[in-house]
């Protein structure tokens, strides 16, 4: 009998899929662009988990079935990572094109092109997960409006406030999608 975790009927020793990944991305050097870094830290702290001391260090994941990962941008190999989870919460910043200050939406797999260069959306990542690895996790995208994008580690006051709201939403979503 393997170890059961706290986040669903999950037995890591059998190789079954891990329940939940909180996958944040952005550039913490560019103020609000890196809001996901701050949100992940908040959520991890609420679960009493150790948080990285500095940007670039990995989150320490345990056997509970709730994992955290932060990257500068989404890349193709993360499709395999995402395919190993039942549920994935993507966390990002957003801009004026999206009306809500904090947007929390379910997302499906959908290929989205990048006209010039490397830029992968979570929707594209989900397509790759399903097509290459045969599993597309249930996924949500939580994004927070960014106001300042200068060269600084510190969030703008407005975005810092919204980050708290986003962390609340993710905390509820982890307990169960219907609760969020």
């Amino acid at each position: 009998m393997g170890e059961l975790n706290s986040f669903g009927d999950f037995d890591r020793s059998t190789g079954s899929k891990s329940p939940i990944l909180i996958l944040g991305y952005g550039n913490p050097d560019r103020q609000d662009d890196g809001v996901a870094w701050h949100i992940l830290r908040q959520v991890a702290e609420r679960y009493g988990r150790p948080v990285p001391a500095e940007i670039g260090e990995d989150f320490e994941n345990d056997t509970s079935g709730l994992d955290f990962q932060f990257v500068l941008q989404l890349t193709p190999e993360l499709a395999e990572t995402a395919a190993g989870y039942a549920r994935v919460c993507f966390v990002d910043a957003h801009t004026g094109a999206i009306p809500a200050d904090v947007q929390c939406i379910p997302i499906q797999g959908e290929f989205q092109t990048s006209p010039f260069t490397h830029h992968m959306t979570p929707q594209t990542l989900l397509v790759l997960s399903e097509t290459l690895y045969g599993h597309r996790p249930a996924a949500v995208l939580v994004s927070v409006r960014g106001y300042e994008f200068g060269f600084s580690y510190t969030l703008s006051e407005k975005t810092a406030g919204l980050a708290n709201d986003a962390a609340d939403w993710i905390y509820a979503w982890i307990k169960g999608p219907d609760l969020a």
């Binding site: 670039g56 500068l72 890349t75 801009t95 004026g96 290929f111 990048s114 260069t117 594209t124 290459l132």
Partner: protein, 476 residues
Amino acid sequence: MGTQKITIEPVTRIEGHAKVTIHLNEQGAVDHAYLHVNEFRGFEKFCEGRMYFEMPMITPRICGICPVSHHLAAAKASDELTGSTPPRPASLLRELMHMGQVIQSHGMHFFELAGPDLVFGFDADPATRNVVGLIGLDPALALKAVGLRKFGQEIIRILGGRRIHPNFAVPGGVNKALKAEEREQILAGVDEAVATIQVGLQLIKGWAAANMEDINKFAVFPSGYLGLVTPDDGLELYDGAIRLIGQDGGQLERFDGRNYLDYISEHVEDWSYLKFPYYKKMGWPDGVYRVGPLGRLNVAKQISTPLANEELKIFKALNGGKPVENTLYYHYARLIECLFAAERVKVLLDDPDILSNDILNTHKDFKGVGVGVLEAPRGTLFHHYWTNEMGQLQRVNLIVATGHNNWAMSKAVDSVAKTYITGPVITEGLLNRVEAAVRAHDPCLSCSTHAVGQMPMVVDLVDPSGNVLQSLRRNA
């Protein structure tokens, strides 16, 4: 005479991205096209006041795709600055990490960004002309392609402790020796990586044979070429002298990268935030040059690894030994370099010094100024630091590959627009060709920031009176 203007613009609120503007005359022909790049010079200011030894950890965050290039260039600049030449084993290990970077970056570009255009054609339905379409066509190859990138990433992770932003190179060497079991782990993946790259080479050769008409009219133009070379003018990605050749292939200069300011100047245009580097002695615009895979294979006379060298011979024959000018051959050159990098991994791992613990030179002869140069996947990368006597950065100058290729990308956009756009209506296929002219150079435009809602691209066709005749939007 009035003109019309078409703008291809990834809508962004901050720097780090680009847009294309195509000006049409009243006959509907392209008058001129520009690529406007919004530079991230702010990063240099951001670094001022920091300590030099922080730079190998700070600068990788410029880019999520090629952080190792900045990590190593920063370390090389810091070596110079402190007068701490790394021991040979440390240089081998740094180069090994760099090869991992080249493999993952080139592998991703070819199979994810370039592959769909090559396999399906520029005019194919964008619903299928993408990496998912490729997977549907050949799932086994798609998995191999992902595996190739993972192989490169795994080298970085083993050495740097993490895949994205490594903690490895430090002034005077590296902070971790390679273990025997780690060496075996990397070695075990080399053959498969080589085989996957060879499949890619067959793919591009087949595509080239079937698409010579496009290749020979798609942004073909003369320029100079610049890149690092070995002492015998072979392909070099980590260290060496800089070789600059002219349009005819003749050598213009061969110089130490530390002295780059004696050879390279930067031109400013009022339509781009990104400067245009050029060869100082020839002036602007005669001294323009290209970097990256095409530039490097044009300046190199041979490659030290056997499989890549055979491919180089075939590549060199494309233009009778003269520089290959076709922009679309960037893709071909990229794969040959990727093959070199995979072969080079094995050469490095077979070196008796690779497992040595002599990895750090702690002796310092502080100079306060240092230049680090290497060949990032996209081209030659310069890091230049000036510090005070305490080691605090007073000035930072970064010349990134996308900067070197700024002229080439804009020239390619102009050339493609003039070749393919002949009327006021722009089809998706034509739009894709213009984008492909930029993509061929594999620029790093979106690395600085990339929030949700930031990447839609708008194409407006505007008549001389300012009326929008056609508007295309591509959401991403």
